[in-house]
Symmetry: none
């Protein structure tokens, strides 16, 4: 199995903490308290803190904030009555959605293209808002007019509309996905920790068991020995594996001899 | 702000339709019908069809399937009573989760590294299972022992645990993300060509032999079973290897029984 046991210098977050605090997640007129909670949870999962809610339906908003275990970021969320107010101090406003039925008036990018733009904007001291429309309508034309660009989440044209909480999770995952995530070098192989001689010892015991039980005709035995040798070098057995298998076959041989008497 | 109006040759899906139909999303003991529905919705959003559910809590499962607007893939979902049964015909079984509290026994990769492996496995005609544990526990050690590798979703260490529906959405998004994420260098072949069910068959015969020869005290047998399962998934056994080893152990068992009489 050729896998490294752990990525050696995997960069969990593209964005430094301080920059992530300059990104607002903005929910426009959310209707379902569970979705607000899910959005907040995804923010916590990916290390974002600033939630902003525009014109929430009052009972919904109260219910979401009073949920047991509501994260601090939900309690600290900023409430605005208008979209314009919510994004007033932002320098890059990115609307999200799928655009299958709507002719966009803004530049459209695909979600995988968003991170470099956000990263660049935050690095130069800007403030970014990522906007999610209501469950029912998504972002309406009026909302979109405040956006510098639209971010399309690449979904199946037959089922394009995502759940709000899931859309937030996918977008924030993308933003924190490592820039170097695509490995450029092949994975180093796991080295078998077993000495060649130990493998031969093991192959010898197995061959003995094969003979004891009449596994194959005598004429086939050299071929079997050859195959065993190849097999053990192809598998990446550890020293521990080797000892265990050796122990099992020694026990089998002992038992066969014992019964045979 | 430098933006192109539309990504010029953006590839919406890395995986062709036919290949996406060879990927199973497996939910282990889900407890919340809303989460099952959310997982199904994410699958529809990203063009996956095959949902499999292991040992669902009955009322939960009924409620999820009877929800208004439940997608076809939820109605067509396969129900299994055991994990082993659910993944029996899969050649690559990938568990998901966060590993902050658990010392993994399998190779661990980060989610952004998963797509090339899945893509390669599907391209060569394999069948892939992506496993999600229950909301409460995630995947337990027993479940994990059926997995070839673990996929870690890179979340904030302070809030690592994701909502089930959101975790499914993030993983499937990653798999269908732009082809830009595809590796530039070919990946070494990772996974054995053996069906998970065949490996279980093999482990079963070896366990029988262990018992027949009194390899270990009865109290150790569950631990041995667990270790065998891990070992077989770590080694890259081919279908041919599996048949040979199976043949040898069947022969050993036959011989032991024959001598014992």
């Amino acid at each position: 199995l050729q896998l490294r046991m752990k990525a050696p210098h995997y960069n969990r977050f593209v964005l430094p903490d301080a920059q992530r605090d300059s990104l607002d997640v903005v929910l426009v007129s959310p209707r379902n308290p569970l979705n607000i909670g899910a959005a907040a949870r995804a923010m916590a999962n990916f290390g974002f803190q600033r939630l902003s809610v525009v014109a929430p339906f009052d009972p919904t908003w109260r219910e979401a904030r009073s949920a047991i275990g509501a994260p601090d970021l939900l309690l600290n969320a900023v409430e605005s009555s208008t979209f314009a107010e919510a994004v007033a101090d932002c320098t890059l406003v990115a609307g999200t959605g799928t655009l299958t039925w709507r002719k966009p008036e803004q530049p459209v990018i695909q979600l995988p293209e968003l991170a470099p733009l956000v990263s660049q904007e935050l690095a130069r001291g800007g403030r970014v808002a990522l906007i999610f429309g209501s469950e029912k309508h998504g972002l309406i034309r009026e909302d979109l007019s405040y956006c510098h660009l639209l971010v399309e989440i690449p979904t199946d044209p037959e089922q394009p509309s995502m759940n709000l909480g899931q859309a937030v999770a996918v977008c924030l995952y993308e933003l924190t996905r490592s820039a170097e995530s695509a490995p450029t070098t092949p994975f180093p192989s796991v080295i078998s920790a077993t000495f060649s001689g130990h493998l031969d010892l093991l192959a010898g015991v197995i061959e003995e068991a094969m003979q004891a039980v009449g596994y194959s005709p005598r004429a086939m035995q050299p071929a079997n020995r050859h195959d065993l040798r190849l097999l053990f070098r192809r598998l990446t057995l550890t020293a521990h594996d080797t000892r265990r298998i050796l122990g099992l076959f020694r026990r089998i041989l002992w038992r066969l001899n014992h019964l045979g008497r």
